[in-house]
């Protein structure tokens, strides 16, 4: 019996059911739910298909991670898909601009559940060195939920691999018996993220109420117009 097998069995084993000493390396007694979970997650974690989707500098390190020296294929993740319909994982690899966040949200909506997002690099996490730029989004998590953050500018391929291993850990922790961790098996389609609108500046439709409230405030009280110059507050 290999070490990997034993580890697998000991993780699977139900703590309340004792197994005789001599059989520990080949037998595990577990509940039906845990058995199904382990098979389900084992299959998913080792065949994550990332979307072939590069934004900026980090994309080059992403390609380097897929190449021979670092070899993402060891984790079953080498199948880059150009179509979001076939992808499980979106690696947001680079600066997200206001112009680009529109297609990104659309692509995210087009991915089939279960789907995961990995924010690679400082820009995708929070804007990075370009944060103050007028066309830069302060992190992709302002628009879509993110599972794993990999810091760096750009993160080295080793860091990205570590992030992907963390992604596998997250998948391992999901259970079919717990609907909160696998919401995609609920009733009906999962909720779409509303696509931002390119107005005078980027508009998040989820903040529509804020526009109305600020407009109402601007009419009632002078000087309460937060929209005109938010930076005026920053200076104060």
């Amino acid at each position: 019996m290999t070490q990997a097998n034993e580890n697998f069995l000991s993780e699977l084993r139900h703590p309340d059911v004792p197994v005789p000493e001599g059989m520990q390396s080949s037998v595990a007694v577990t509940t039906f739910g845990r058995l199904i979970d382990s098979i389900y997650n084992w299959g998913r974690r080792n065949s994550i298909w990332p979307m072939a989707f590069g934004l900026a500098c980090c994309a080059i390190e992403m390609i380097a991670t897929a190449s021979s020296r670092f070899d993402q294929a060891r984790f079953g993740m080498e199948v880059l898909r150009a179509s979001p319909r076939q992808a499980d994982l979106m690696i947001v690899s680079g600066t997200v601009t206001k112009k680009m966040v529109v297609p990104i949200v659309r692509l995210y909506n087009q991915m089939a559940e279960p789907k995961y997002v990995l924010a690679m690099g400082a820009c995708a996490i929070g804007g990075g060195p370009f944060k103050e730029g007028y066309n830069v989004v302060s992190g992709i998590d302002k628009y879509i939920p993110v599972d794993v953050y990999v810091p760096g500018c750009p993160p080295t391929p080793q860091a990205l691999l570590y992030g992907l291993i963390m992604m596998q850990k997250k998948i391992d922790s999901q259970s079919l018996s717990n609907r909160d961790s696998t919401p995609w098996y609920g009733r009906g389609p999962s909720e779409e993220v509303p696509v931002p609108i390119l107005g005078p500046d980027i508009i998040d439709p989820r903040q529509a109420h804020l526009f109305r409230r600020l407009a109402a405030e601007a009419q009632t009280g002078p000087g309460a117009d937060g929209r005109e110059d938010a930076s005026a507050q920053a200076r104060r």
Binding site: A56, S67, T97, K131, N135, L198, F211, D225, R227, A230
Partner: protein, 615 residues
Amino acid sequence: MMTEQVQVSTSTAPLDEAVRRLEAHFGNAIRRDDREGYTGVVVEPSHLVEVAKFVRDSLGFTYLASATAVDYLGKSESDHLEMVYHVCDLRGGPPLTLKAQTPRDQATLPSLVSVWPGADFQEREAWDLMGIRFEGHPNLKRILMWEGFHGHPLRKDWKEAYYEQEHKPFDSRWPEGHVRRAEELNPFGKNVRYPAGFSLDGYEEQAERAIYEGAPLGVQVSDLATEQVVVSLGPQHPSTHGVFRMVVTLDGETIVRLEPVMGYLHRNHEKIGERNTFLHNMPFTDRLDYFCSMSNNLGYAVAVEKLLALGKRWDPPTYRAEAIRVLMVELTRILNHLVAIGFLLNDLGAYFTPLMYSIIERELILDFFEAVSGSRMMCNYMRFGGVAYDLPERLQSTAALINDRVRDFDTMHYLRALIHDRLPRAVEQTNDLLTTNEIITNRCIGVGVLTREDAIAYSAAGPVLRASGVPYDVRRAEPYSIYPDLEFDVAVRYHGDVYDRYLIRLDEMVQSLRILKQILPILEETKGQPFFSGKPGQYNPRVPAGEAYGRVENPKGELGFYLVSDGGQNPWRYHVRSPSFINLTALSQMCKGHKVADVVAILGSIDIVLGEVDR
């Protein structure tokens, strides 16, 4: 390989002569720019087109290298906007600078697209970011931002949502070191700012509609019952090298019209650069063309050093520093061309395999960069007056730790093995496997032809220009660093198709190896000599007022930095003349009449990087 010997003069005598002839011909319509630290002539806007034609046809300055705008708010009595054109003679020598001024309200200038089609995108950029309207421009739409965006962001009185202060370092963070997250101060919690009175009710998005303007949307049925279809390629497409987008009108499979749409990676390099101090910008240049961070560093250093040379106290870089710079830049060129060929093959349908071969060599070069500068990709290595660190005695690469083995090499030994053995073999292998490959010859020869005249008119640069039969290389035309001491040929090919653009990259790698072989003994000889001309650690010298256009021959073409300094700590204007961006001007010309499958091949042969296209 074909090469041409180019006779070069670097003196400014031809420029003075040109200005004299301009003065004689146009009289009062032009005047010399007499501001301190400035060169060139200021042209009356009403005569701009005539002057441009005269400069092109009679004075021999046929090539428009760069066109950009500067906002002189508060710097002169008139508060004007200024358009700056750098025009080059393809026989070599420094560029002639033409300027045209216009008031800030109702800024209007005549368009030069009729004289130099290469001004197309650059004028659109000036309209987008500076708000100068160009009369006679055929397609004056926003290019980097979207249609409907409020304001022109590069104007000095335009403030971004997270605006704190004119210049860095911000008082809120330095020297006390308080950190506040900018989004917490914004009522929307995001990097947004809307004009006063903006309301969502009844708002209609213009951005997408404007992109398709002029394209015959929908289906047109002609007599032959073929249909014209408009297809949007990108911004998420495996063959657009990032987030580039093209709106293509097709007749069957044939391209009738192609319009590049960009700005999906516009990360406001120039606006941020004007808030930064001069030194702050060095790491930002790494992120322009992220394959070639070393060459970008050099371009910026050359530009700032030109400005510094206007002042009194300034020591030029030491010989060793220049040798190290050339070593880095030429290694970068090989790296870039290998990867560019890999991507071209990816676009031709070979998928990732050729790219994987290139990346093997890239990793070896990056190991060296990492050991020297501390970072694989974003090297931030050059300084004004030299480089940041000397070459280390030994290379200890952490990247190889993944194989549980620390690599430990003698630096010179590693470089010798790389330059004399490993890289020549890689180039040879690429040549063996690809050059006579039937699929490649079938798909590349005669595809995407750019004639010599078009290449010059469209301001194509680098391998794209040289593959069309123009032996123009900034390393020879306006030499910098120690290139005059080095022996190499300017590679040139004459057909201007995808195949020649592939071949010229092989030629250039051979020439780069030739340079590198000459650099190695120089590095040995100068061992122990200073690698930085200033005081150690003092990287941010006082930059005198004036303007400078520094340019270098990047792997993708002429990378220029146009800097205006008002004598302060940070640049007043910081403009990047990016070769990828301007090379795309000719894309639609190259693609017309070809099949849609060829578009990706043609795009791959131009070799763009979106970080540089959109900045």
